[in-house]
């Protein structure tokens, strides 16, 4: 079992605390600008994603991004997964807060 490079659950607010580290988040795609995906985080802020899947994802789909936080509002993606149109962003946002708060030790 290898636990050397965990990906922390983040929303846009929590992302700022993990710049330079491996993170995972879900965003709703707003637009694709030549290989850069722009979307809304589960706490309602704008995030940009570079790399990942070059073919792009459908607008308004929720996409999970795992990668390195390279800025306060941007992630360099390693893996992107289409979570579809029906995804409960509110629950995911709650999970991000639990995973960075009281139950941090379970995830890192």
């Amino acid at each position: 079992m290898d636990t050397s490079s965990p990906a922390v659950f983040v929303n846009a607010e929590l992302l700022k605390m993990h710049v330079g580290k491996r993170v995972r988040t879900v965003l709703q795609v707003a637009r694709n600008e030549g290989g850069v995906m722009v979307g809304q985080s589960t706490d309602g802020q704008q995030l940009t994603v570079k790399g990942g899947d070059p073919k792009g994802f459908a607008l308004s789909h929720y996409v999970e991004v795992i990668g390195i936080a390279d800025g306060n509002q941007s992630i360099r993606a390693e893996i992107c997964t289409d979570f579809g149109e029906r995804f409960d962003a509110v629950s995911y946002n709650g999970l991000c807060q639990l995973a960075n708060g009281k139950y941090k030790n379970l995830f890192l």
Binding site: M1, D2, P6, T81, G84, D88, Y103, F107, L108
Partner: protein
């Protein structure tokens, strides 16, 4: 590790290798990676032909849910899976991690020290998130009540709650016999207890008359 622990994991499949005897892969759930084996002989014994192509459907990069036994070999942990299914609804991802927190809380909560054999009928070690049992029926023997409590406990375990079709009667009997040999649980008593809980609406039958699921939670 001498004890075989049943686990459910969810994560992204990586490094899948198909061999004549088995399929191995790494499962990355964001907190770490663990190696998983799925033996072909298990596929054919457990699921017959319907799921023999189960391992062909799942590919690297896909989210999968696996169920299996946690094993330790030469200090390395690995899972021998009996089920590997692709995740279709991604809300399952959120749910899985919330369940992990839930199970952790349940495992670490302070428990009353109940000494086997001296438990009084009203001293139920019912979990905080459960609805308490109704009062014992007058005239009921102590052992019947204890069996009923243990049967309900099995249905209320988080692992049981998440199973869509619930538990088969035989599985409940098997698990209780294993855990409480001192009670000499007869399968008849277990069936009676299941019937009792079914009548009271604590559990309900699912896909057939042999599968039941808790009605209280989940």
């Amino acid at each position: 590790m001498g004890v075989c622990v049943q686990v459910k994991l969810l994560g992204i499949m990586m490094n899948k290798i198909e061999r004549v005897t088995d399929v191995s892969f790494a499962l990355d759930d964001g907190t770490g990676r663990i190696n998983v084996n799925r033996w072909w002989v298990l596929c054919s014994l457990v699921n017959e032909t319907s799921d023999t192509n189960e391992m062909a459907i799942v590919q690297n990069g896909m989210y999968v849910t696996i169920r299996g036994s946690l094993k330790g070999f030469q200090g390395k942990r690995q899972v021998v899976a009996y089920s590997v299914r692709p995740v279709i609804d991604f809300n399952e991802v959120t749910l899985h991690y919330l369940e992990c927190i839930h199970v952790h809380l349940d495992n670490t909560r302070p428990k009353a020290n109940t000494v086997i054999g001296t438990v009084t009928p009203n001293q139920n070690d019912i979990k905080g998130f459960q609805t308490p049992l109704t009062n014992p029926i007058p005239g009921m023997k102590f052992s019947d009540n204890e069996i009923q409590k243990r049967v309900l406990d099995v249905f209320m375990e988080p692992a049981s709650l998440v199973r869509e079709q619930g538990l088969h009667i035989d599985e409940v009997i098997r698990r209780l016999r294993f855990a409480t040999e001192e009670y000499h649980l007869k399968s008849l008593s277990c069936r009676d207890a299941i019937s009792y809980h079914n009548d009271l609406g604590h559990i309900y039958s699912t896909i057939d008359d042999f599968h039941f699921k808790s009605a209280m939670n989940g």
